[in-house]
């Protein structure tokens, strides 16, 4: 692509053999400029079956899940189970810098495509491999989904209402997080390679990547702090505080601090209340408000009473305010308050608009332009751009096999007939 801008990863090619949310990994590398080739089985990736679908059309070329995580990639079909397919893959790998795959524990070895052999032929090749739990170990063979990864990360246990089962986030996210760590790992290996010339293996476990979303897990676990699901409250061992309040037109999340920090932030909420003639905290000394310290000293009931003394007036006050009012006051006065936004709210939000976050991408086949969530980061010299929508099934077979690798067009016809592509 001679007319492309020089992006950080422009010189590099990535072969993407991941499925599901793991697809986000190579998408990040594509956003940074890599030539990512998404390799699908001959009749299309299983990820194309994952909804939601454009206008509800359940069709492999209408999966919004596929669109979102395969933007900026090219796509070819290839059957790795056939001998021809393996030979073609080796040929492709010899032109690539990074292979990223989620085929399953030791699957590449079973296919005869073990890293050791690829590495022998191509010592600078980086192989990032994603498995749910690892290639080996007691759970390595476990079946996994988004829900299973949340369950095994400590996060599900800590999320939800106490009188109902623990919950995940209602849309799948764990695999995408894992993909992101795979991208970061591959980038580490790339930087090592730049300095030493050596490729290496990057081993990413979905369970571990998901655990990293579980804040400071080792710190809490070794302290023996039982992080449990508490609904609208959070209990970190020494303070159980309300973190979600109802407001006039929805909900607002709050982070209520104690001691010196609390004095600043809560004092400003109290000031707002006073401006509105709500005088619960007129003579309140916030720097003395330290229920957590009381709790640690064993004065548990006093601590609880102190918390109620703050939560109840806050709850009453926020009910008189809209999300928008609360956000603007928080912005002006640095209050630790945030409106609970929906996807529709986000698409209309001035902040994202002004940063031109939503990026239109044309889908000629759908006669539609979709607005995608934009760059994951703003880079002043090498801005992330969306250069192409997600590939159709086998869209770049001719371009890559014939024009770039130099196979004869007749070979493609044969491969198609034998189910190789």
């Amino acid at each position: 692509m001679p007319d492309s801008p020089d992006l950080p990863l422009s010189p590099y090619r990535v072969l993407d053999l991941t499925e599901g949310g793991y697809n986000l990994g190579a998408k990040i590398l594509a956003d940074l400029g890599a030539d990512v080739i998404r390799i699908e089985r001959p009749f299309g990736s299983e990820t194309r079956c994952q909804g939601p679908f454009y206008q509800g059309r359940v069709h492999p070329e209408a999966s919004l899940f596929w669109f979102a995580f395969n933007l900026n990639k090219r796509g070819i079909t290839l059957n790795l189970e056939t001998e021809d397919g393996k030979a073609i893959f080796r040929r492709l790998a010899s032109t690539a810098d990074i292979v990223i795959e989620s085929l399953g524990p030791h699957r590449m070895e079973h296919l005869g495509l073990a890293y050791e052999s690829l590495h022998r032929e191509h010592p600078s090749l980086i192989h990032a491999t994603i498995t749910p739990f690892g290639h080996d170990g007691p759970y390595a063979h476990f079946q996994s989904t988004d829900l299973i990864l949340w369950a095994m990360s400590g996060l599900q246990y800590a999320s939800g209402d106490p009188d109902r089962p623990p919950v995940r986030i209602s849309v799948p996210m764990a695999e995408a997080v894992t993909g992101s760590h795979a991208a970061s790992g591959a980038m580490h290996a790339l930087w090592y390679r730049v300095r030493t010339g050596e490729g290496q293996q990057v081993d990413v476990s979905g369970q571990i990547a998901t655990i990293t979303t579980n804040m400071a897990v080792s710190a809490y676990a070794t302290a023996g702090t039982p992080i449990k699901r508490e609904g609208e409250f959070r209990d970190v061992g020494y303070t159980r505080m309300r973190v979600l309040y109802q407001c006039k037109d929805g909900y607002v999340a709050a982070f209520v601090m104690q001691g010196k920090w609390g004095a600043a932030f809560n004092g400003r909420i109290a000031k707002w209340m006073q401006d509105d003639c709500v005088n619960d905290f007129a003579d309140f000394d916030w720097s003395e408000w330290t229920p957590g310290v009381k709790h640690m000293k064993g004065q548990v009931e006093e601590a609880k009473a102190e918390i109620r003394m703050v939560e109840e007036p806050f709850a009453k006050f926020f009910l008189t305010k809209t999300k928008d009012e609360i956000f603007h006051r928080a912005l002006k006065d640095e209050l630790m308050l945030a409106p609970v936004l929906t996807s529709a709210d986000l698409y209309q939000w001035e902040q994202l608009d002004s940063r031109e976050f939503w990026v239109p991408v044309e889908h000629p086949e759908l006669e539609a332009t979709l607005r995608y969530p934009g760059p994951f980061i703003k880079m002043s010299e090498t801005p992330v751009t969306f250069r192409r929508r997600a590939p159709l099934i086998g869209e770049h077979n001719h371009e890559i096999y014939v024009e770039e690798l130099g196979y004869a067009p007749e070979e493609l016809v044969l491969w198609r007939a034998t189910g190789t592509i």
């Binding site: 986000l24 590398l29 940074l32 909804g51 939601p52 899940f65 007691p138 759970y139 079946q143 829900l147 299973i148 369950a151 400590g154 246990y157 623990p166 919950v167 986030i169 849309v171 996210m173 997080v177 992101s180 970061s184 580490h188 930087w191 090592y192 730049v194 290496q200 293996q201 081993d203 990413v204 476990s205 369970q207 571990i208 400071a216 080792s218 710190a219 023996g224 992080i227 609208e232 959070r234 061992g237 909900y251 709050a254 601090m257 310290v293 640690m296 996807s343 709210d345 986000l346 001035e350 902040q351 994202l352 002004s354 940063r355 979709l370 995608y372 969530p373 994951f376 880079m379 090498t382």
Partner: protein, 409 residues
């Protein structure tokens, strides 16, 4: 095995970032071999230094396990940035030490008030990579909005998406946007390093944590744009799977999550539960049927699981190929056999507290392994940095400490 160099050997990072996203990002750099000087100040103390859990339950600015686990392998420089000599020391670090990367996570403009904005730094170090991260980014009408990731989850749509449809949006545990941004930050920082290697050009990076978090729920966002569908929180419901949820097992607040993806999983589940009436109920033999009668099916499965040992049930179901997992608490994770096998939990040696816990890396590199050393006490490396990097004389150092320019608690 022969010694291999670490990934970031020789990389120099001047780190002004605090709380979570910035420090976690530079922790990863440091654990992989970068030299990270974390600039701290008693007058603007990192909130996490005063955040529980504390070592042995005792409060202390150097005792937070939370802070320690997010700041391994770094050097701490305590400086009162409000004083001119402290600012001059930073300029000397920039001129003489020549950092590759500056990281910061203050409110936009804050570091500029100390004089260390991107343009000023670039005038001295033209190829600097300057990484800033805040909730909402460096531009836009709400750029000055201050907030932690706990409430950032509400802005990023994650609160709305977590909980039950008939109940308030309780959100996921912790500060999800904080925790999902560091890998994005790492990818971008290394990309910027690589671009600089080829072209000699540095650049400025602006990571808005909300925008980072939204990458992970992109399909749900496109659903809104394409179909006008606002995805709602739905407990553990999944549109493409049934049954799909957490089922009570024997013991106090014990649960096993089960996800049946397709008919093969269903057949496997029925095999594991052979003899239960629901396994042969005609209504449940197709996906459409299971979906139509999902509540009833899940209640019958729940009655079956309630008597069972969770660990055993997980193993039995997995043996049959059914995606199933014990819903583990963070404390139980310490005994998770797979995590032990993967050597996930680590201890580092801390100068004041002795052994302190930290998470292992989120990925393993076969040639250039990760190694975390203990997080620093505040100002632990004051002398080392001044003597070895800035070559400050003993008299000058004593006077800087005396004047309160160089800080330690």
């Amino acid at each position: 095995m022969p010694e291999t160099p670490s990934v970031f050997e020789g990389l120099k990072v001047l780190d002004f970032a605090w709380v979570v996203v910035g420090p976690l990002t530079t922790k990863h750099l440091a654990d992989h071999g970068a030299t990270v000087i974390r600039v701290e100040s008693l007058s603007r103390l990192d909130y996490l230094r005063s955040t529980a859990p504390f070592k042995d339950g005792q409060f202390g600015l150097n005792r937070s396990q939370f802070w320690a686990s997010f700041n391994t392998s770094k050097k701490s420089l305590g400086l009162n940035l409000k004083t001119d000599p402290a600012k001059e020391l930073i300029w000397r670090l920039i001129r003489e030490w020549q950092p590759d990367l500056i990281t910061e996570s203050f409110a936009p403009g804050q570091l500029a008030r100390f004089g260390f904005d991107y343009e000023s730094v670039r005038a001295v170090k033209p190829d600097i990579i300057y990484f800033s991260t805040t909730q909402l980014g460096q531009t836009g009408p709400f750029t000055q909005y201050a907030g932690f990731g706990n409430i950032g989850a509400a802005i990023a749509g994650l609160n709305h998406l977590t909980g039950w449809p008939d109940r308030p949006p309780v959100g996921p545990w912790g500060a999800m946007p904080d925790m999902v941004n560091p890998p994005l930050a790492m990818s971008a920082i290394i990309a910027a390093l690589e671009y600089r290697r080829r072209t000699g050009k540095g650049q400025r990076l602006d990571l808005a944590q909300i925008e980072g978090a939204l990458q992970y729920i992109a399909p749900a966002l496109l659903d809104c744009d394409s179909n006008g569908t606002v995805v709602e929180r739905a407990g553990n419901y999944d549109v493409g799977m049934a049954p799909h949820g957490a089922f009570r097992v024997a013991g106090e607040d014990r649960w096993v999550s089960i996800a049946v993806r397709n008919d093969a999983d269903w057949a496997a589940l029925c095999k594991a539960a052979a003899g239960e009436p629901w396994t042969t109920d005609a209504r449940f033999q197709t996906f459409a049927g299971r979906k139509e009668h999902e509540a009833e099916l899940e209640s019958q499965i729940g009655a079956w699981t309630a008597k069972q040992d969770g660990e055993r049930l997980m193993l039995d179901l997995q043996e049959q190929g059914v995606p199933a997992a014990l819903v583990k608490s963070c404390i139980e994770l310490m005994d998770d056999p797979q995590l032990r096998y993967m050597d996930f939990f680590h201890e580092t040696q801390h100068a004041e507290c002795g052994p302190m816990p930290t998470d292992g890396p989120s990925f393993r590199l076969s040639l250039s392994p990760w190694a975390a050393t203990g997080a620093p006490t505040l100002g632990q490396h004051n002398e080392e940095i001044h003597r070895e990097i800035l070559h400050v004389s003993d008299e000058e150092l004593a006077s800087l400490i005396g004047e309160g320019v160089i800080e330690s608690p």
